[in-house]
């Protein structure tokens, strides 16, 4: 923090942070200066001229933009003088002369900075009698974003965001003067993972999303703060609903976590909530078909299955439950059987990680203070998008970045070293000892290092990761983030007594098949590379109970399906992120039909089994979670988390219960990874982004494609009778000889990547005959 100095604003002396921007310093003291282009998280440009104020200079009073003027000792500022008022009114009039008066049909109306500031600072009447500037009304600049250039006031917030923050400057100013407009480059849509942020920060209704367009008026919205459970970053969000329907998610500026930003998946992957195909009734499979069953009958039937088989009840859990629900399963399991039960988590990238006592675990803020960031993990832009932004931000502020592995090539441009196929083989094993990498050595020895470490592929053996982590831990002041990326994984690690992965499930179940298997919010058949093995195991189990939102590939095999509340907006609970930061998940919409929350269902089941049930209320469970939590100082109770002082969340105890013993033993012949958008059941049912995850493609560099005697373009992928048409795309960041498969695209996991997959180009005749 800078020293505080005295400045005089409007005749009143205030204390201000030396060197801070005047507009921010005034805001700190409760003096609001109107603005359009200035945004706390973007570099100032001084373009809109709305924040002009008068300051005393040796040559008299001067009008200066307060967003580019810094506080200096004894600065005298007037934010309300006649000259300032006239200038601000003038700027507003200039902005309005070409701004269309379509507020009645504009999504922004009601929460529009241009409207609001016109009321507060603008002229009452229009003196402009000419025709306004015209552009084609909204043009699509991507699948999910529309741009209305008539409404645009050219504040450059969106273009700066894309350039400075997300690093994909796909929108720019074109033309000049009065003809200036924001637009994309020819044939290059605004396909950014972060494009929704530009809609949120647009100070007018120029940028709108297909998702929210014409859906509601801001004054009709209910709002609550919550936590995104899309990945382990745990962004703070605001949920907006109207008439019991979720309509919008906004990023909230949590200084420690997402700093206001969201990825587009986190922002738009809620539309499934309102999807007609959501489960609303419990189902029982009768003669290979699902039939509706009342919850009461279902509980009775399950009671009989569980009684006498208590030790043969197992749990396969997804990563989208709240801490309280993980605690509920833990309690449930302990109550029905005497032996300790294992919980299997549906994530191919799970392993024991690096949580040993001698390794200090990092927070995101460590990235900003580190000398060097070292990344060896799955692609963080695809799987932990806001962490990607935080890394970019840290590097922009001077931190060194070193990347290992062929993932994360989108950070290549800003990395000082990118160790790819020269030192890491196709199965992500180091070919060179870390201490022999000179640049790595120079950048870490004796330095503050923050490392992001995790498996780059489901097939990666952790041996090389061990080498790197112990090298870093011995030679630097290391803080480490275990890059498990799925949902509330860290909540599961904390609140379940023992967590195992899918390889363990296969081994354990082959030895000892469970009688009853609960599958909760998980679709391993649709998402795991072990899908074939898992299918054959599940087919053998007598009773599978699936608790979920939709029917998908896994619970098609279930005997009973129970509709559940969604963690997005239909539950109250807590979430633990990758930093072990706990924050609140809140409810704003009711669930459809007879959907239950997990603890309600388990309570009912327990009471039918004759066990005491009171403690499975959410609040009781929350107390349990807080007690279980190892950090005794900050209890993560709802009451504590709701306190404004804990807005950033509470870092809880950093102990985990992961007990993986088995790994995928196969060696992959291919390079596989997960993309942000994929074929998950929730995304498939979210209208605006479903298309983004539906395209099937594989990638390789040009020389690989040539070596394989292929051409970029349409192709067939074929193995053991599974033939899919796909696209083969050139990507020069992929090492020689490797073909990349995004495994979360539909049916790709059904291939056995340890065996050869045939790829052949589709000829034109084939295309014609297919059609």
């Amino acid at each position: 923090m800078n020293e505080m100095v005295k400045i005089n604003v409007n005749g009143i002396e205030i204390q201000a942070d030396n060197n801070k921007l005047l507009i921010e310093a005034c805001e700190d003291s409760g003096i609001h200066i109107p603005r359009f282009c200035w945004h706390k998280r973007l570099d100032p440009v001084g373009m809109c001229r709305m924040c002009l104020v008068e300051v005393d200079t040796p040559r008299g009073k001067a009008l200066v933009p307060s967003c580019t003027t810094k506080v200096t000792p004894n600065l005298v500022v007037d934010t309300e003088s006649e000259v300032v008022k006239k200038a601000q009114e003038g700027v507003l009039e200039f902005l309005l002369i070409n701004h269309p008066l379509d507020c009645p049909i504009c999504d922004k109306a009601g929460e529009c900075p241009l409207q609001d500031q016109t009321v507060s600072y603008g002229p009452g009447e229009s003196r402009f009698v000419e025709e306004k500037r015209h552009f084609e009304k909204p043009i699509s600049i991507s699948e999910i974003i529309l741009l209305d250039r008539e409404r645009c006031i050219l504040c450059a917030r969106c273009t700066r965001f894309s350039d400075e923050i997300s690093g994909d400057p796909l929108i720019e100013f074109v033309q000049r003067g009065n003809k200036t407009e924001v637009n994309t480059f020819p044939n290059e849509p605004f396909r950014s993972y972060f494009s929704g942020n530009t809609v949120q920060i647009c100070p007018v209704g120029a940028l709108t999303s297909t998702s929210y367009r014409f859906k509601a008026r801001p004054w009709d919205l209910k709002a609550t703060t919550s936590t995104c459970n899309g990945c382990t970053v745990g962004c703070t969000v605001e949920l907006n609903a109207s008439q019991n329907k979720m309509l919008r998610i906004l990023g909230v500026d949590n200084d420690s976590v997402n700093q206001g930003w969201l990825c587009d998946k986190g922002r738009y992957n809620f539309e499934f909530l309102n999807n007609q195909s959501r489960l609303k009734e419990s189902l029982e499979k009768v003669n290979e078909k699902f039939e509706i069953i009342s919850n009461k009958d279902l509980i009775n039937k399950l009671k009989n299955k569980i009684l006498n088989n208590e030790n043969k009840v197992k749990f396969l859990l997804g990563t989208n439950l709240t801490n309280e629900e993980y605690a509920a399963f833990n309690e449930f399991s302990a109550l029905i059987s005497k032996s300790k039960s294992d919980f299997y988590l549906s994530d191919d990238y799970l392993f024991n990680g690096y949580f040993e006592k001698n390794i200090s675990l990092a927070t995101f803020n460590n990235l900003d203070t580190a000398d060097t960031i070292v990344i060896w993990s799955e692609d963080i832009k695809e799987n932990l998008p806001i962490l990607y932004l935080r890394v970019r931000q840290a590097v922009k502020n001077g931190t060194k970045l070193i990347i290992l592995g062929h993932n994360n090539s989108t950070l290549k441009d800003i990395a000082s070293d990118f160790y790819s196929s020269d030192i890491i083989d196709e199965n992500f094993e180091l070919k060179v000892q870390p201490e022999n990498l000179k640049n790595l050595k120079d950048a870490v020895i004796g330095k503050n290092v923050t490392a992001i470490i995790g498996k780059s592929s489901p097939y990666q053996n952790k041996k090389s990761l061990d080498l790197l982590v112990s090298f870093l831990n011995e030679n630097s002041n290391l803080s480490l983030l275990n890059s498990f990326s799925k949902g509330n994984s860290f909540g599961a690690f904390q609140n379940l007594d023992s967590v195992k992965g899918l390889p363990d499930l296969c081994k354990d179940f082959e030895e000892d098949l469970p009688e009853v298997l609960f599958i909760v919010g998980a679709d391993p058949i649709g998402s795991s590379v072990l899908t074939n093995k898992i299918t054959s195991i599940l087919e053998k189990i007598n009773c599978i109970v699936s608790l979920d939102l939709f029917i998908h590939q896994t619970n098609e095999l279930a005997n009973y399906v129970v509709p559940m509340n969604s963690t997005v907006s239909e539950k109250e609970g807590t979430f633990t992120n990758i930093e072990f930061r706990s924050s609140k998940i809140n409810k704003i919409t009711p669930s459809p039909g007879k959907a239950l929350s997990e603890n309600e269902f388990l309570s009912n089941l327990l009471s039918s089994l004759g066990k005491s049930t009171d403690f499975l209320s959410v609040h009781e469970l929350n107390t349990k979670v807080a007690e279980n939590n190892f950090n005794q100082v900050n209890k993560i109770t709802f009451d504590e988390l709701d306190k404004p002082s804990n807005f950033d969340g509470i870092i809880s105890g950093k102990e985990v219960n992961i007990n993986c013993t088995f790994f995928i033993e196969d060696k992959s012949l291919y390079y596989v990874g997960r993309k942000l958008y994929g074929d998950s059941v929730t995304q498939r049912n979210s209208q605006s982004i479903s298309i983004l995850g539906s395209k099937k493609y594989i990638q390789a560099n040009l020389s690989t494609i040539k070596t394989l005697d292929l051409e970029a373009g349409k192709c067939y992928i074929e193995q053991n009778g599974l033939k899919l048409s796909s696209e083969l795309i050139i990507n020069e960041n992929i090492p020689d000889g490797l073909i990349y498969f995004p495994i979360n695209r539909r049916n790709f996991v059904k291939y056995n990547f340890a065996e050869k997959i045939n790829i052949s180009n589709i000829s034109n005749e084939d295309i014609l005959s297919v059609q």
């Binding site: 001229r49 009114e89 000419e130 100013f173 033309q175 000049r176 003067g177 009065n178």
Partner: protein
């Protein structure tokens, strides 16, 4: 009144081939640079420039010696020649580029020697195709003779010159917009601070940005000493200056004169009088950005200070005469249209305000004006340049917006009746 020919001597002596290196060398060319590099010190050169009291010829009139003295020490420094001559009415750099490019190059060599710079750029406006070709050829000739490149004239000095063409934007004459354009960005003025490119300029490195005419004067000053140069002209406006005279006069053109005589004398003698013996109604003393002076003010002396005292500026040295038949509303409209067309669009008051002013003037000029338009014009101007004072205050990032205001305030101050007469009287039927 006679011309004093320092910079334009060679092109007069050799009207058809003064741009060739052979001619240049034959007429004393590159000797000053050669001598300076081997015999003088950078400090001595700087002192000559400071002694000459030459002020920048681009328009702002900043003392060149002071600018050079402000250059911050750094490993990388640059010299950028601003040859983006775009101020309407100005065509003096054009002849220097087209007809005596080696004089500029020699000036650059001496400047870079004085400032210890080894990389220089000449940013020429895109429309100057022929001058750019001539300069490019001249640079190549100089390289082939060993006057540019490594170890020039056999000394330890290295200098590379890059000729860069603009893409047709007036705003790139503003030095920070020029630097942005040269870096490959949009030609938009940079935010101040940093105030001076001499501190943070091209690629955020210390950079001297000088006008063509300024640097073309350097060889003469160094050869004949700054004290000699200082004797020319008058105090505050020393040396000679090339004025571009245009408008309703009998002999428009470029004239190199010592500053100090009056506009009236200039027009009557060198300009050979007003066309058709008419009277001058108004004139622009220093480029389209400068407020107009009236026919009664022709006795004002052509010096930086005298014009400034009369609330205008000598600017880029473009003198445009308008006779008594001129429709001044149309004249103002055409200047405002120019600025509206050339606004970069970065800041609101200039982007929106200049176009609005153009629209209002267009309405008035075509007989569709409203009686409220006069006050509206002045108020819109006031929102771009608060107080409508000179030198202008501004709500904008750079002075382009206020430049569009100058002709309107001049018009309204001195010729308001003429504007009022163009507003149709409302007849009640």
């Amino acid at each position: 009144m006679k011309e004093t020919v320092l910079l334009t001597k060679r092109m007069r002596d050799f009207p058809s081939d003064s741009h060739l290196i052979d001619i240049y060398e034959k007429s004393n060319g590159y000797k000053v640079a050669k001598k300076t590099l081997s015999k003088s010190s950078p400090e001595e050169v700087l002192k000559e420039i400071q002694d000459s009291n030459i002020k920048g010829r681009g328009g702002a009139g900043f003392p060149t010696g002071t600018k050079w003295g402000m250059l911050v020490e750094d490993k990388e420094k640059y010299l950028v020649i601003n040859a983006d001559e775009s101020e309407p009415g100005t065509f003096k750099d054009r002849i220097l580029l087209e007809r005596d490019p080696h004089q500029l190059i020699e000036g650059m060599i001496i400047t870079c020697f004085a400032a210890n710079i080894d990389k220089a750029f000449i940013y020429i406006r895109g429309e100057y195709a022929k001058p750019a070709r001539r300069v490019q050829n001249a640079v190549e000739q100089a390289y082939s003779k060993g006057y540019l490149g490594k170890k020039i004239f056999g000394t330890n000095m290295n200098l590379d010159i890059v000729v860069h063409l603009g893409a047709g934007a007036y705003i790139c004459g503003e030095e920070t917009a020029l630097l942005n354009s040269l870096e490959g960005r949009r030609g938009e003025p940079r935010l101040k601070p940093p105030f001076y490119p001499a501190v943070k300029g091209l690629y955020m490195k210390p950079t001297l940005v000088n006008n063509v005419e300024t640097i073309s004067s350097v060889p003469w000053i160094v050869e004949n000493t700054g004290a000699e140069y200082n004797k020319l002209g008058v105090e505050g406006s020393t040396g000679t200056r090339i004025f571009s005279l245009s408008g309703h006069i009998n002999k428009p053109g470029n004239y190199e004169i010592e500053m100090g005589s009056s506009f009236g004398e200039f027009v009557e003698t060198l300009g050979e009088g007003v066309r058709n013996n008419k009277k001058i109604k108004a004139f622009i003393p220093g480029g389209a950005s400068a407020p107009w002076l009236t026919g009664e003010q022709l006795e004002i002396k052509m010096t930086i200070d005298d014009v400034a005292k009369n609330n205008s500026m000598l600017g880029s040295g473009a003198v445009v005469m308008m006779d008594e038949d001129t429709n001044l509303v149309n004249a103002a409209k055409s200047i405002v249209s120019f600025f509206a067309h050339e606004s970069c669009g970065q800041c609101t008051p200039c982007r929106e305000g200049t176009t609005w002013l153009e629209m209002i003037l267009d309405r008035v000029a075509s007989g569709r004006g409203r009686s409220s338009d006069l006050e509206l014009l002045l108020d819109v101007c006031d929102n771009i340049s608060p107080g409508l004072s000179w030198p202008p205050k501004m709500t904008t990032i750079c002075p382009l917006g206020p430049s569009a205001v100058s002709p309107i305030t001049s018009l309204m101050k001195n010729f308001r009746e003429e504007v009022e007469n163009m507003i149709p009287t409302k007849v009640l039927l």
